[in-house]
């Protein structure tokens, strides 16, 4: 795992590094530390990282720009900040976790469990998905999203207004960021359960989900039973 820590307090950066090394003792890892935002951005541009620990003071404009950039990126971001009142805002933009200072080893361990998906994360606070589009970042409202189709390392996002966007995170990573009413119906599809029109069983044991707007999506056999019960269709 390739991890970058952007933190201007050297002792705190050292602390995160130390805890990560302890927590990830078993796995192969590479941990880099940068003390300035600019240096951090350079590192991201030059390296493919899997996880970013970011000390972000969201008071200034730079903070939000940075938040949009990192949340549209293919890797997950964990904010480490002294200003806990900004946690909600950070979640709205789509970070995996927000670790308030001061933190202990257990808190970093919990963030890593979230990353692995072994700890359920309540993501009700999320409002937007930040998407990189022609070099710029745009914010799309999550509630406008109908369904997501996996496309290798990317994901295709289909919205109510019939627009389609590409997100740099893959389907698995996105599923960690989405609220609980987004359901996996197929290895390649996640749907917004609030926007479903009907669930149909077709000849040949095929199951199809019709979304608002008329899109027909395949439902895997293993998920069909679950969904039928859950949604009481």
């Amino acid at each position: 795992m390739h991890i970058l820590i952007v933190e201007d307090e050297p002792i705190i950066a050292r602390r995160i590094t130390r805890i990560l090394k302890e927590q990830l003792a078993e796995s192969p890892k590479q941990i880099a530390v940068r003390h300035q935002l600019e240096e951090g951005q350079e590192y991201i541009a030059e390296n493919e990282i899997d996880l970013l620990f970011l000390d972000l003071n969201l008071q200034g404009d730079n903070g939000f720009e940075m938040l949009e950039t990192v949340s549209a990126a293919p890797f997950h971001t964990i904010i480490v900040s002294a200003n806990k009142d900004q946690a909600l805002k950070a979640f709205e933009y789509g970070v995996l976790d927000f670790v308030g200072k001061p933190f202990n080893e257990e808190r970093i361990a919990k963030a890593l469990r979230r990353l692995r998906g072994t700890e359920n994360v309540e993501q009700q606070g999320r409002k937007y998905l930040s998407i990189q589009k022609r070099g710029r970042h745009i914010l799309k409202e999550i509630e406008q999203l109908l369904y997501i189709k996996g496309a290798g390392i990317y994901a295709e996002l289909y919205f109510e207004d019939e627009s389609k966007e590409i997100h740099n995170k893959n389907l698995d990573k996105l599923s960690q960021l989405l609220p609980t009413h987004f359901e996996r119906i197929h290895k390649s599809y996640i749907v917004n359960s609030k926007k479903i029109r009907s669930l149909k069983a077709e000849a040949g044991g095929k199951y199809t989900l019709e979304m608002e707007g008329g899109a027909l999506l395949p439902v895997s056999r293993s998920r069909y039973k679950d969904l039928k019960e859950k949604w009481a269709i």
Partner: protein, 587 residues
């Protein structure tokens, strides 16, 4: 500048003030309007012509006497005078039930209607002893048999032997009016005028108390004095309607009126000069005083024209000052200028519109006084409110600055980062972490000691800075070097000023190659002024920003709180780092 304490606080004070101003404003307005109505002359027949001659001849009373050679000028002498009035009596006479002659005379007189004696006032005589002084104002009933339409001659035989020696001549006037109504009307006018006088008296006392018990504001004392003077002037002008006095006393009364008018005409512009803080005040005040005295010497001392000219000088000077204030965009200049202009217009209007000068001066004076007093009261009240607001704002500012000071150490960016670093120190190097905790407790202790102070000893400030630097040394693992030069331990400084500058320096600087950031704090005096210099030797993080952060706002507010305008702050990048200079001026 910290305004002084006030007697009135809170909403009750404001309401009381408002009620006070409103009450008097309404009363004054009432008086102004009633004056207007009272002085609208109806049913008065004025003479068409007045001529006079010195000497004594019984035939001068007759209707047929040819007085073409007589003069219409005042005669400046002692002795016997005759005065003849021509009346053209028309149908207006029939509106009067009992037509009477209303007479104002500086002398004892006998009065003849078409040659027939109809009354006398005192006893006319050739020497001061022989003469019995008549009353200044008097009424004579015109017998029904003589009151007819057409031309009539009213002739006075006058002597003025009891006039004070410094006044020459006699002055006589008369007109026909309802005999009874005249008395009634005087009383009505006087009643209203005395209500006005009462208001001035109360306002004078009230503002005297304000002056004595509150802030000893010069303008409030001047205003109080003006109110007393107005009261005195009104009384001096109008007690003639209540106390009928012999004519020689009229001169004494005019003398009193003269001095009252002199003071009023001087104090009115003096008030505005003080209120608007006009430069070269002494020179202007002396000029106005000289003009006033010159005006009264050119005209005869103690006569109505002198008082009128003095009022005019005072009025013009005040308008000029208001105009100056208006040009200089002083606060409330607009209100004062409008009020004075309206007063001026009222005077102009009445001067032009009255055929007979008897009441014009008095009326205009009192109407313009009322407007003047109202405008003064208004600006004083407004200023009082502004001072109170400024005082409250300064209290708010002080508590805001206190809050800001306390927040410095509990704001999350500082405390959470410090605590996180501290956790790491405790886990990794427990021995050294004790020093870290000691530095932290040191900074907190000083912060709590200075939280409510506006000025603290410089050594305490330096200790605070040292503790902060120690904390940051543990957090940043940089070598901070703090050097103090020529500090005078007796000096005081607003709390956390240098602390704030050092915070900024630590946030915005990179260390040099040896991982050092050097901070110098210097003190020196030049020409009685005190200087502090805080120099940071380090690499600046970004190009110098123009706008100031909250840190500098805090410093500026603190300096203003303690030193008013007597400070300067310069902060700019240098080749070696950053230099901030605070200059504390000596008043």
């Amino acid at each position: 500048m910290a305004p002084r304490a006030f007697e009135w606080h809170g909403i009750e004070g404001k309401l009381a003030y408002l009620c006070f101003v409103m009450k008097y404003a309404l009363l004054l307005l009432l008086c102004i309007s009633s004056l207007n109505f009272l002085f609208a002359y109806d049913g008065i027949i004025y003479p068409d012509r007045r001529v006079q001659k010195q000497g004594d001849n019984p035939s001068w009373a007759s209707k047929g006497f040819n007085d073409a050679s007589w003069t219409d000028q005042e005669l400046m002498d002692f002795g016997y005078f005759w005065v003849r009035f021509n009346f053209e009596v028309d149908e207006e006479l029939y509106e009067l039930k009992h037509p009477g002659l209303h007479i104002i005379s500086l002398g004892s007189y006998e009065v003849f209607w078409d040659g027939i004696k109809i009354g006398e006032n005192g006893k006319v005589g050739g020497t001061a002893v022989e003469e019995i002084p008549g009353n200044f104002m008097s009424q004579v009933l015109i017998p029904d048999s003589l009151a007819s339409l057409g031309e009539h001659i009213v002739a006075f035989r006058v002597s003025n032997m009891n006039m004070p020696t410094y006044i020459l001549g006699s002055w006589n006037a008369c007109y026909i009016e309802e005999y009874k109504k005249t008395v009634e009307e005087y009383l009505r006018v006087t009643a209203f005028i005395f209500v006005l006088a009462g208001i001035y008296l109360m306002a004078g006392i009230y503002y005297l108390f304000l002056f004595l018990m509150r802030n000893k504001e010069k303008e409030e004392l001047i205003f109080s004095l003006l109110c007393f003077l107005f009261f005195g002037l009104i009384f001096a002008e109008y007690f003639k309607f209540i106390f009928i006095y012999p004519y020689p006393f009229h001169i004494t009364r005019l003398g009193v009126v003269y001095f009252l008018t002199l003071f009023i005409s001087f104090l009115t512009p003096y008030f505005f000069i003080n209120f608007f803080e006009v430069p070269k005040a002494l020179l202007i005040n002396l000029t106005i005083l000289a003009l006033l005295i010159a005006a009264s010497f050119i005209l005869t001392i103690g006569t109505d024209p002198a008082a009128r000219v003095m009022s005019l000088v005072g009025m013009i000077a005040s308008i000029a000052i208001a105009l100056y204030a208006l040009i200089k965009k002083k606060q409330h200049a607009w209100v004062v200028f409008s009020a004075l202009s309206v007063s001026g217009l009222v005077i102009l209007f009445y001067q032009l519109s009255f055929r007979f000068l008897l009441y014009a001066y008095d009326v205009t004076l009192f109407i313009s006084f009322s407007i003047l007093v109202l405008s003064m009261m208004y600006v004083l009240a407004r200023r009082s409110r502004e001072q109170k607001e400024a005082y409250e704002a300064s209290l708010v500012l002080s508590s805001r600055l206190q809050n800001e000071l306390l927040k410095k150490n509990i704001q999350p960016h500082f405390i959470m980062n410090t605590l996180t670093s501290l956790m790491e120190w405790i886990e990794e190097a427990p021995g050294e972490s004790i020093q870290f905790i000691e530095a932290l407790s040191g900074e907190f202790e000083i912060m709590s000691e200075i939280a409510e102070e506006k000025l603290i000893p410089i050594m305490q400030e330096i200790d605070l800075c040292k503790y902060h630097i120690e904390i940051m040394r543990f957090r940043k693992e940089l070598n901070y070097i703090f050097v103090q030069e020529n500090i005078d331990p007796e000096e005081k400084i607003p709390p956390a000023i240098f602390h704030t500058l050092i915070e900024n320096a630590i946030t915005h600087s990179y260390p040099d190659k040896e991982n050092r950031i050097k901070i110098f704090l210097r003190f020196f005096r030049v020409g009685g002024h005190r200087y502090y210099e805080l120099e940071v030797i380090a690499k600046n993080k970004k190009a110098a920003k123009k706008e100031e952060g909250t840190g500098f706002k805090y410093i500026r507010s603190r300096l203003s709180e303690s030193y008013g305008d007597l400070w300067e702050l310069d902060s700019s990048p240098t080749e070696k780092g950053w230099l901030t200079r605070i200059k504390l001026l000596t008043a």
